[in-house]
């Protein structure tokens, strides 16, 4: 060993170079596996919704629109998720379907008057202002031809065909949702020059940030 160090240019230098490169590549691969596969798994905790909600049943079978439950209040604010009270307008005494989850919802929430602690996939950080009213069908359908489901799923997870509520991934450090809309997704429309003038869309900071 000492001999080699004293004469670095001597003898089998090619194999020694390779000997130096191999640990590097092994390390690189290990780092990539850790960074791309192991770390994201460690960073996010997987959580299921407290009650399995099937959007498919409501939209396809009961032929409801998104806005039947996710509506606007009179003061222009968006109600977001429906309360147990508004679910109970249909799901009150007897379950309407066969799903045991529905029976559990009636027993555990409607009868006790408790609110469901839904995980909100789209929960935005506190410094984001989002106006549902501004992103209306009337505004977008000046040029597009969206149905309500199509418009909502531009930003939200397309749950219309899902029987099982998707798993919610929460960032363990920030407690933000992994599935929330990122700014580059907002920019697809807000930074799109064809939207200026046609819509009231603007890319000014204060339009979305507070």
């Amino acid at each position: 060993m000492e001999e080699r160090l004293l004469h670095p240019a001597d003898g089998n230098s090619t194999s020694r170079q390779f000997g130096g490169a191999a640990p590097f590549f092994v390390g690189l691969v290990v780092a990539l596996i850790f960074g791309w596969w192991a770390f994201p798994g460690m960073l996010f905790s997987e959580q299921e919704q407290p009650i399995n909600f099937s959007h498919k049943v409501h939209i396809q079978d009961a032929e409801m629109e998104c806005s039947a439950c996710h509506y606007f209040r009179e003061d222009g604010t968006f109600a977001g998720l429906p309360t147990t009270e508004s679910c109970a307008e249909c799901h009150s005494d007897e379950p309407l379907g066969e799903d045991p989850e529905e029976a559990r919802f009636i027993k555990e929430y409607v009868e006790t008057g408790k609110e469901v602690k839904w995980h909100v996939y789209q929960k935005q950080p506190d410094n984001v202002f989002f106006s549902h009213a501004a992103h209306s069908l009337e505004s977008c359908n000046n040029c597009h031809d969206f149905s309500e489901v199509e418009l909502c799923s531009q930003c939200h997870i397309d749950v219309a065909n899902m029987d099982k509520a998707p798993t919610y991934y929460e960032n363990k450090l920030t407690t933000y949702s992994k599935q929330t809309m990122k700014m580059w997704q907002c920019e697809r429309c807000h930074a799109h020059p064809e939207h200026y003038g046609v819509t009231r869309s603007s890319n000014a900071c204060f339009v979305c940030h507070k």
């Binding site: 606007f72 604010t77 410094n127 106006s131 009213a133 900071c205 204060f206 339009v207 940030h209």
Partner: protein, 254 residues
């Protein structure tokens, strides 16, 4: 320097002859914009007031003695000195309405803007806000709470404009053509004397536009050329004289 033009230009006219210096605007602002109360407000390093009331005096002895009070929100300059110095575009004037934005999560706390602002309208968070006695439950949900290390300032209660626009959209009205009074700032609403008038300076039907075009309307340090959107109205010559730096023999308009 060119001033950016907007269809709507939110502005304020403050009647200094009506202002009694009660400070209701400051209190309303603190409550509306989630400014944490501090134990010792005499500590001017720590105290945060997006709008603050200055006392003006004519400096004369008793029979001629007179005072005035000057509430000072962010002046929402037409070409804001704070915007051009910001290295990270945390503050900008690019939105319809002409309100100078301040996006605090983007702010790196360098405080160039504070040095640049001729009106001392910007404040730096030296400490994290503390909400005693469960006060955090009474925070305005539409206003983000700022951590230590960032600069903040008056935004003309921008969130109220957003709410007013949303209401107009849901009712099927044009959100860019709000009737007068549908969007006003918290200080405007709180002033018991009606000294503050808020509205669109570009809309001639709005009271604020009429007040701003009056010969008694002056702006703070107008000759700096910042083209501010806050006007001060007074019929007292000595008050108007203190709004800018005049030479002794110089005449003040109005």
């Amino acid at each position: 320097m060119e001033t950016k033009e907007f269809t709507i230009k939110w502005g304020m006219a403050i009647d200094l002859d009506k202002c009694t210096g009660c400070g209701a605007c400051m209190v309303a602002c603190q409550a509306e914009n989630n400014l944490a109360p501090i134990a010792d407000a005499s500590n001017k390093i720590k105290v945060m007031n997006w709008i603050t009331v200055y006392e003006l005096s004519n400096g004369k002895p008793y029979p001629e003695h007179d005072v005035a009070y000057l509430p000072r929100p962010c002046q929402q300059c037409g070409h804001p000195p704070c915007v051009s110095v910001c290295p990270v575009i945390a503050t900008d004037k690019n939105e319809e309405g002409g309100i100078v934005s301040q996006v605090t999560p983007r702010c790196i706390g360098c405080r160039y803007c504070m040095a640049a602002c001729p009106y001392h309208a910007r404040y730096f968070n030296w400490r994290d806000p503390v909400w005693p006695g469960g006060l955090e439950k009474a925070l305005t949900p539409d206003v983000s709470v700022r951590p230590r290390g960032v600069v903040e300032k008056c935004t003309f209660c921008h969130h109220r404009w957003m709410a007013a626009k949303d209401k107009a959209i849901v009712e099927g009205r044009d959100p860019m053509d709000l009737p007068e009074g549908e969007y006003v700032t918290s200080c405007t609403e709180a002033c018991p004397n009606g000294a503050i008038t808020f509205g669109d300076l570009n809309n001639e039907e709005h009271e604020v536009a009429k007040l701003a075009s009056s010969k008694y309307a002056h702006r703070l340090l107008e000759r700096l050329g910042a083209d501010t959107q806050v006007y001060y109205v007074s019929r007292r010559e000595w008050v108007l004289r203190q709004l800018d730096n005049y030479l002794e023999d110089e005449k003040v308009k109005g």
